[in-house]
């Protein structure tokens, strides 16, 4: 394995560059956002090699980027960002991943920690009942015939039209919860079969719903703009994606792209990077199917939001309006988007792949909701269940350097099997209890796999993003209640 300390050239305290000479076939340099301390962990795995591999993609512009939560993925590293020209570049399903539009949404309440502590056990128990979670969990939405196609076309808008939430929610969802160009004709029947019973479910693995309390506010003006008034205020964070439908779309198109690579004579160092020109039949079909999966995920988070509101209303005996249950924002962190960016002074239409990375558009950008346009787009960065989550905002620097992207979470340091080898469910449960965190999980294994010890400290990740200027911290919140698959 390469000696990464030698290969990566330090630019400043937060940026390390990988020369295109590192590997023959790289079209652009790599750039990793990290710090001296985390660099050791980064170098232990093959993530930098993956940054180099992504630089092979035809039409890639700028640099093959890795956000501070970089870790070893498959094909792309997790935390990878790559932009390709739509004119002559490619789209790669591996640059989005299996869980298409895995993402996070954050709700605010007007409750304080002291309001919620006495009822937290009951609230978590009720949420666990009302929001299906776990492997193979089925939702309570019964889609008939080809109703799923409406979900795939309309996303969160479908959910709101069906009564799951408020029209205002769409305003505070990336892409208003409906990615353009979705065409269900490009989604296989198998994907629809997998997705139909799973709509409105949290799933398993690292997906969760958390009740959090604001612990620190770094930017009062921005926090106020997002409706967060004070330390102690209760927030709700939901993390899930497109479930089996997204996995199947990715799988179907990896096969299509495997053939396309040969057809178009594309040379790649890893089969998982398989791709096709954005403008080709294969590329367009994938983007149309990916948009469907993205819309499914937004509909999924929207339905879960609705049941969360209903459950809180029941437990507190007040309406969602009285509880101030408003959506702060919803971000996608596994997605490819067609966006316009300035590269070397030229405006270019690009396909921006964000694989475990969050869009981070600055104040003034037209894609930021009007109500937030003075401060910038909220960036939601969950940590592991025993530590903290952060809210940040996008910056002009991100727009200039990372195609408007920043980190998406903590990033694993320990594999799932290593976590299971080194920790017991009881230890993890006791550690959570001692921090005052109430939790309900369907599987003991997922409790251990998702323990704090398995992750980088999200604070370190957020500090690097803040230090590098690709997002700016707004507030920190701490979980007090968690449900997981």
């Amino acid at each position: 394995m390469a000696d990464w300390k030698k290969e990566l050239k330090k630019i400043d305290d937060y940026r390390w560059e990988l020369s295109p000479d590192f590997k023959e076939g790289m079209r652009v340099p790599g750039l990793i956002y990290t710090d001296e301390r985390m660099l050791d962990q980064v170098g232990e795995e093959q993530a930098p090699e993956q940054v180099a591999n992504v630089a092979f993609l035809p039409g890639i512009v700028g640099k093959s980027l890795a956000m501070p939560d970089i870790h070893w993925g498959y094909g792309f590293p997790i935390g990878g960002v790559a932009a390709t020209r739509t004119s002559d570049g490619v789209v790669s399903p591996g640059g989005v991943g299996f869980d298409i539009n895995c993402g996070v949404r954050l709700l605010r309440t007007n409750l304080t920690e002291s309001d919620i502590r006495p009822r937290i056990e009951r609230l978590i128990a009720r949420l666990f009942t009302e929001i299906p979670s776990g492997v193979g969990s089925e939702g309570r939405i019964r889609l008939k015939g080809n109703q799923i196609d409406r979900v795939l076309e309309r996303g969160a808008r479908w959910a709101v039209e069906e009564g799951y939430g408020e029209p205002e929610d769409l305003e505070f969802t990336e892409e208003k919860g409906q990615l353009r160009g979705a065409d269900p004709a490009h989604v296989s029947q198998r994907a629809k079969t997998r997705g139909t019973p799973q709509l409105g479910t949290l799933g398993s693995g690292n997906h969760f719903l958390e009740i959090e309390v604001v612990r620190e506010i770094y930017d009062e003006a921005a926090a106020k703009t997002f409706g967060v008034e004070h330390v102690g205020q209760v927030l709700i964070l939901i993390h899930t994606g497109s479930r089996g439908l997204g996995y199947q779309v990715c799988e179907d198109y990896l096969k299509t792209m495997g053939a396309a690579v040969k057809k178009y004579g594309i040379r790649l160092p890893d089969r998982q990077l398989a791709c096709a020109p954005v403008e080709s039949e294969e590329g367009k079909a994938y983007l149309a199917a990916m948009a469907c999966a993205a819309n499914y995920a937004w509909a999924n988070r929207q339905c879960i939001t609705h049941w969360t509101r209903q459950t809180l209303a029941e437990v507190f005996g007040k309406s969602p309006e009285e509880l101030g249950l408003k959506l702060i924002y919803d971000v996608a962190h596994n997605i490819a988007k067609i966006e316009e960016h300035t590269v070397n002074g030229k405006r270019l239409l690009l396909c921006v792949h964000r694989k475990g990375a969050t869009r981070a558009f600055p104040a003034g950008h037209p894609d930021v909701p009007a109500a937030y346009r003075k401060v910038g787009q909220p960036v939601l960065i969950p940590g592991d269940m025993g530590r903290y989550s952060y809210v940040a905002v996008g910056t002009q620097k991100a727009l200039e350097e990372t195609f408007g992207s920043t980190c998406h979470g903590a990033g694993r340091v320990r594999s799932r099997s290593a976590a299971k080898r080194d920790l017991s469910a009881q230890e993890v449960a006791e550690a959570l209890a001692s921090k005052g965190i109430t939790f309900k999980v369907t599987s003991k294994a997922s409790l251990v796999e998702e323990a704090s010890e398995a992750y980088k400290d999200v604070t370190d990740v957020v500090e690097v993003a803040d230090g590098a200027g690709i997002s700016r911290k707004v507030l920190k919140a701490q979980p007090i209640g968690v449900i997981k698959g």
């Binding site: 795995e45 070893w72 498959y74 591996g94 398993s204 799988e251 799932r416 099997s417 599987s443």
Partner: protein
Amino acid sequence: MPFHFCYNAYAMQGYEFIDHTADAGIVAHGKTLEEVFVNAARGMTSLMVDPESISERARREIVAEGADTEELLVAWLNEILYLFDAEGMLFRRFEIEHLNGRSIRGTAYGEKADPSRHEIKAQVKAATYHQLKIERDGDGFHGRVILDL
């Protein structure tokens, strides 16, 4: 390569796991390619559930196609995952009736998942093409596949 193959007790069962930070990998061994495919399926199942808890009450035919043997291994494993996700099927035993470089047909024996008897340890989202490899070795073949958990 950073993988540390441990040819110990695991080798006896025909597969072993390799650590991958975000996910998990399997190396399956066999005297024949058919054995490699069966062992990869068994290894993947054991990540999801204790195979001892599965009874052979039902069977499903598994058919898959691929551009080459490696793609076929991914397609075979993904077919098994599809049957779990779409029908809740868990399998304990696999047989292969036909395998050439482009297509595979086999039978899997098991039952529908029942939460009271099967603790699902992890959801495998998919088998990936990342560092996918099937190679000949002294004893026959081995195949490596990384799974997205």
